[in-house]
Symmetry: C3
Subunit: 458 residues, 3 copies
């Protein structure tokens, strides 16, 4: 049995983790008032209505986010010619783990109730959000890691995500509904540092597999389009009810539209021969969603959102064209999916836009809505410019925790115990998956089919 065999490593990891999770859930987790039969019916008895259950006002958003996590991220990464099973499949595996672990970690940091974590649809959205951050990091190391490595990365990253999120939303009082900082910046820089530590000087042995084929690029567009369509739901999923959710959706919608035109224009401009590059379309067109992650719930205005989206598209394409190659050659960061361009830089842009927008908030503009968006400004704890400064500090904290956490995680993942792929078999499904015979064993598929066809027609 070779070193990369998963026959023992993966079952041990999966079963062990899952059993521990079940025990911890058994000890720590409870239904909340929205999901517990007895408590909810006490609410009903006190004059509430079933139609007021939080379920009806969050669940459609949750499902859109859920699609982004499993279809969006999963299929976006199928662009590689021989790594589709792993892209969708490992995405699926680590997401299934991360959402469970995130439930516990976020429950712990968001505040326990008499020693118990209370769950409802909002905690499910938060768990999916945290999972998204792990999947961003997955994009940076795509094709170069074993599933066991990914599970370990997920466990550590979820934990640090919860710590960072707690610091930002708790003590620092930052706002980040769509996660420009907590999800995108954190996930991207964490993943980039992990990729740096796992640098493979001889990765060009697998170079011919680090690319797409025609249909794999179309599979990837499934991921892109779903991410693009549902990003308004992502940014608005946990904002306050009423105008906040509604406004966040609208800002994200127009930001993405403007970002898309910027992406197409830039792509044709930077590619040789004036052609469009699928890598740009698949990724940069989404940067507009990332970049209004923080400010989307604010009174950014539609045209403000469009400016932000436009800038995000421009820098993202420039990143793919010029920065990613430099990152690899100069800084030895092999960023498979270019998460620096889709999540890193647009995340930082989003954090800055959020800080600026926050610092200009006034009661004149927000009226009674100031309490929903900036509660500490509304109640006079601090003023708008302080809010802006706290947003900026939050970005710095996020970068710090991501970089340091990624560094430590990278070294942990470097231990030679996880069955990581050799340099010659990166970006290759057949190392960890049984792949259909005719593609692995012979090149005569089409011919075989022909003979069959003739027989049938005869």
């Amino acid at each position: 049995m070779s070193d990369t065999s998963m026959k023992i490593k993966l079952p041990v990891a999966c079963f062990l983790v899952q059993i521990i999770l079940i025990i911890l859930f058994g000890v720590l987790v409870e239904y909340d008032v929205n999901t517990d039969a007895k408590q909810w019916h006490e609410e009903i008895a006190n004059g509430s209505s079933n139609y007021q259950n939080e379920f009806y006002y969050r669940y459609p958003s949750f499902q859109d986010v859920h699609v982004m996590i499993f279809v969006g991220f999963g299929f976006l990464m199928t662009f590689l010619k021989r790594y589709g099973f792993s892209s969708v499949g490992f995405n699926f595996l680590i997401a299934a783990l991360a959402l469970q672990w995130a439930t516990l970690m976020q429950g712990f940091f968001h505040g326990m109730h008499h020693g118990k974590i209370h769950l409802n649809v909002e905690s499910m959205i938060n768990a999916d959000f945290c999972t998204g951050s792990v999947l961003i990091s997955f994009g940076a190391v795509l094709g170069k890691t074993s599933p066991v490595q990914l599970l370990v990365m997920a466990l550590i990253e979820v934990t640090l995500f919860a710590v960072n999120e707690f610091i930002l939303l708790g003590p620092l009082g930052a706002r980040d509904a769509g996660g420009s900082m907590t999800i995108h910046t954190f996930g991207a820089y964490f993943g980039l540092v992990v990729a740096r530590v796992l640098y493979r000087p001889n990765l060009d042995k697998s170079k011919h597999k680090n690319g797409s084929v025609y249909h794999s690029d179309i599979f990837a567009m499934i991921g892109t389009i779903y991410l693009w369509m549902f990003w308004p739901s992502f940014n608005s999923a946990i904002t306050a009810h009423g105008d906040d959710q509604h406004r966040t959706v609208m800002n994200t919608y127009y930001s993405l539209a403007a970002c898309t035109l910027a992406t197409y224009g830039m792509s044709a401009m930077v590619c040789h021969e004036g052609k469009l590059d699928m890598v740009h379309i698949q990724n940069a067109a989404l940067a507009g969603g990332v970049a209004v992650g923080t400010a989307g719930e604010m009174m950014l205005t539609p045209y403000g959102s469009m400016i932000v989206g436009f800038l995000a598209g421009v820098i993202s394409v420039l990143g793919y064209a010029f920065i990613t190659p430099a990152l690899e050659s100069k800084l030895k960061v092999q960023d498979t999916c270019g998460v620096h361009n889709l999540h890193g830089m647009p995340g930082v842009l989003g954090a800055i836009v959020g800080a600026i927008t926050a610092s200009t908030a006034t009661r004149e503009i927000y009226g009674g809505g100031l309490e929903d968006v900036f509660p500490s400004v509304a109640d006079g704890t601090w003023d708008a410019s302080t809010q802006g400064v706290r947003q900026a500090i939050s970005l710095a904290v996020t970068l710090g925790i991501a970089l340091l956490g990624g560094l430590i995680t990278g070294f942990i993942l470097k231990l030679p115990i996880y069955g990581a792929p050799p340099d010659t078999a990166c970006y290759e499904d057949s190392l960890y998956w049984e792949v259909p015979e005719e593609e692995a064993c012979n090149g005569e598929l089409a011919t075989v089919r022909t003979e069959e066809g003739e027989k049938l027609n005869a």
Copy 2:
């Protein structure tokens, strides 16, 4: 014109059935109070609000279920290398028929109103549910049946489904919101017996087509992921409003997550060389949704759901590895999609879990919610242990009707009048579909493309 030509058979079947359906709908079907302009506005006049229309509290769930039926089931079955048109296309055809016929059958058994069947979004969900059961059976006979056979199977199965559902939810007073029994167990064992009766001793003549190619496995993952994501909506689509829907969603979410880790662990363990098998990932990871179909609306707790999901994943992979081959060699059941492992055993598990959970229900735990989940226990008609026994009897009834119904249906489908495929042309689209020329007639596709590419670049 060969025996398998659909030139006359399929049009006659489609038009005849559709015209009869239109006539029956004309005679029997009416809008209900939620959908009828006059009646609804009388409600409004009596103090109701448009926002209280049932539409807003069921339609998002309905659409998720709808996606599972048409995309989920349809694409899950595209794993076969040369049967993608039929998988998606016949799924589409029989679903379009089944949902219409189910509307009538369920309307009849659920209770007529002055001789009329009343429709709203809930009846649409129920029709889709019943359709799901037919599509499960379709999975057992996939690749070995003509579209006319499938239409006939759908007509009979929908009818028997409605009978079984009526017995369970009516006289027996069983609870089965997510259909572990009514949908999954019924559909699986019905289909397995049909497959048994249609046993083809010489099926290995098509053996080389009974497998996947690289991209067909990725298409199948579209089905898997959509089923997995929307299963919480499936199980909760017709539960009571409020905490019930909310809790069912959460239980299903965690059950599926635990099931996924169990599936990956088991798959690596049972496959030779410690690799993962796409068949397991595509199917067994969903067993957790099936297995909480009955108990999902109950106070199963998140960790209870995770235990059930974990077990479902384990037995499902074991089923694919050991039971399906034995079923074929010993019992002559050729179960193309392995529905016994995804729907059969997990459905039975779900029924048992439901019976146990029901038998332990107390007012202490459910409070005022007891009426929603176990109305007969709440009003004292019978106690919780009786509820459990009735759940268990429901499983037995379901198995009985499924096995007997499948047997009769199998013999009806065996009549040589439907244009069934010969043993040499199973799992093959080109028998019933016009397939694009270059793949059916020559193996030089790639080469042809090359020359074009060179011309263009020249």
Copy 3:
């Protein structure tokens, strides 16, 4: 740099248009009461509730429509063997432009508020609707246009769409919630005339590329199935709340089901050898949604909807089999996707059905709901037969504006400045996209893979 290079043309077009859009949004657009923090909280202070925000009663419908526009239309057109990048990619580009421009045009015609356009989820739905019309026209010219041509077409078509929609829904007082006239008839005939003006006598030089391969047909089915599933949301997205949305959904659901059976029956009947044709299944099965676009919100009854859907399926398949070839040979209209069969004829059918259904409306049938569906009949401005006549006039107006507008647009698009593809490179991605090397440059992909596989296994 060749004439078809996008290196300058596309960036100039994208950036110029996007910057103008941002400026116009900055000058003209405002949040409405549902999305503005201050105004909404004034509503709250006056006794409203966050749960009454329009967001919760339109956003799920919006997202379904959004999926239809980007995934539905985008993937439906991926059926061509070498035009998948362009189908999804140009669909994405022109939709991102059209929805922004439509926001302004529709905002202008739907009524400004003190010189400002007010936005909420309903305006987003309307913008997506208008975008759909442009994408229908795109289907007629698919494979024969440059992205810059498409952007120009989108700008003009959106403008004329808004004019036509204004005339119909304003002065003429027509009802057309699902857009049989405004969206489908308009988009189809506009596109057909554009295709006529852009007629290419030597298009058979690209004939071998104007077809599908096996997997491209399966990609296209993703589009088909999503359009089919979400069409009930499309037709009901902007109808009145309550019974109207609910009834529209139900009518569309049954119309589509009946249409699907008709499509399968007709397809087997008209194809040689009695096989099914993917072109019919992908397209004609959707005609039932188009044909109840106008009457769907009316008291059409489920069986009435099924009759309409059945007829739509029949004429749509007949159109593909007999009319499209005749259009090309006799009228020189090269309709790539057959939009005449999916949107043109079913749209006209829908308009006629709508006129007839409207003319039979009575208070006896609609009760208090008459105000929602036919406000001018309810308040006595005109009677039901006048409503029917006005519906019929609306069809004529739509056809007139579409034909004339398409004519002018066609001549504008004929100018030799947009980098349109030569006759030899139609239906070919590699003209505007960087396509993966191994498919463009050699036919040995499978063989290369084999060697790798052997090495790995060794």
